[in-house]
Symmetry: C3
Subunit: 213 residues, 3 copies
């Protein structure tokens, strides 16, 4: 799972950068829909792509965050923002495209976030929670800045898939599974659960009496 001194393994780095890329696109698409200018698109792309990881790094004391020490972490959201700015009509034509990118980012971040927290010495339960926080943090920051109700509260299942994927990663890592068995099933579990919840309109239990209020 990589070592704290030498940085993450190549696989984790690729997954992390992929998560930043797809989250940044989801942020850029929200900015385009809000008719923000190019800098608004870049700021929302960067916040969405890097926000969850920044929050995790600050909480587990992995500062300065990797994004500030490694140019690849800065280049990826800028590239994603510019691509969204130019090609958004193509992406926007597909109906649920923001949601798919968002679910992919959730799957990637919940796993890489949990593994990084383990690397920094957190126990299994806090590490799984940090994976969830990494996954949901960027989207919450995006929605707060864009003046939307955070997607996590839109009553479709959102935090649960992230917690599930992170839990897989923590358990598999604890059992000494090979890296691919730690990461890919975790990403797939979270992404698949989230997409199923969206497609079938699954809802978590509501407080009693909500319907009548």
């Amino acid at each position: 799972m990589g070592d704290p001194t030498g940085g993450p393994s190549t696989l984790l780095l690729v997954l992390d950068l992929s998560g930043i890329f797809v989250f940044a696109i989801s942020g850029g698409l929200v900015a385009v829909r809000k008719q923000l200018d190019i800098f608004g698109v870049l700021v929302l792309a960067g916040t969405t792509g890097l926000g969850g990881g920044f929050l995790r790094d600050v909480l587990i004391d992995a500062t300065p965050p990797a994004a500030l020490a490694d140019w690849r972490y800065l280049l990826v959201p800028v590239a994603a923002g510019l691509l969204t700015f130019v090609f958004h009509p193509m992406l926007g034509r597909l109906e649920r495209v923001t949601t798919v990118f968002d679910a992919a980012g959730l799957g990637l971040f919940c796993v890489t976030g949990a593994l990084k927290a383990l690397d920094f010495g957190l126990g299994p339960v806090p590490a799984a929670l940090m994976g969830m926080v990494t996954g949901i943090g960027g989207g919450i920051a995006r929605d707060l800045l864009a003046g939307r109700v955070p997607v996590i509260f839109s009553s479709e299942l959102y935090a649960t898939p992230a917690l599930l994927g992170a839990t897989w990663a923590v358990v598999a890592a604890g059992l000494g599974a090979p890296e691919w068995a730690v990461t890919f099933p975790g990403v797939a579990l979270c992404f698949g659960f989230r997409m199923l919840a969206l497609l079938r309109n699954w809802r978590a239990p509501l407080p009693s009496g909500s319907a009548s209020v």
Copy 2:
């Protein structure tokens, strides 16, 4: 007042966990009123209960926050969220119940926050401010996520009681008072002042000309 290496004293730990519990209930009640599902209730309960302490720990460099290293800090908001989800009709029947829990959390956190800041070497004035920040941070995070105007701006006295309680704790600790004399009067001062301000509808001075705007 506890020592930085060995963790807080038992009394401070109990007060801190009590503050997390009552703040988490206030967050859960807001989520129930917003008709969020069970995960929304848990997320708002956790954010409200742990947000102020996370903010304090990050600012005074006490990372990773205690909540990530000690399972009791995670169990308490989860339990409070589940209790709120199940028993909210009972709590909701009492009119001002969110407000009372919120005031209790404010009183507990302003004292424990100030004492933790002292433990980490801050001077008395910044420590009192950190106590206030610990007290008001969770409620601000709760209201931002729930899309409400932060309660601190609702023009009833809110930050002042927290600053008062934190100041008591800092001064009493500086004078070498026994632990009970540092904590209980501080909590009582803040809680009592806040409840009085609510009951009597005390208002802080408004800028000149506000009424006519």
Copy 3:
């Protein structure tokens, strides 16, 4: 540019405190317009004045932030908040006065933020970005708390001037320029660009098709 152990040079300290002062006034004026009471004015003044620097210090691991260890950093926003509370009718009479103070804070913070990031070992590109973050962070926090759409998204050029000023400071510092040549042109570039963008109503490029949406 100052040394990490001995604190910043006198020039940087004066510029930093000036930035806090003018940002705090801009925050206080927003609070006055929202008809908040005196504590709301002080909280918004403090958040706006210190928010960007806190965010920077947490990200570059310069915790506890200077503002918590140095009473001057706490006195300045309190004084600015009280001045705004008392004298706001005088300031409010001038039309664009919040905007001018905001632009001045942006110019001062983008330079001091970038130089502090360099001092803490960040590379030139992340340091310039940290300068931008320091400049825009306080205003974003102010607008989120006040329930306004962040000014950065109001489609006038905002982040770009900050990035420009920060880039000047990083490049000039890298070339070994004397301190005045690192700081003053950077502040002036950012402030001048921002004011020109406001006066001439310059707008950054919008996504294609925005007008018709």
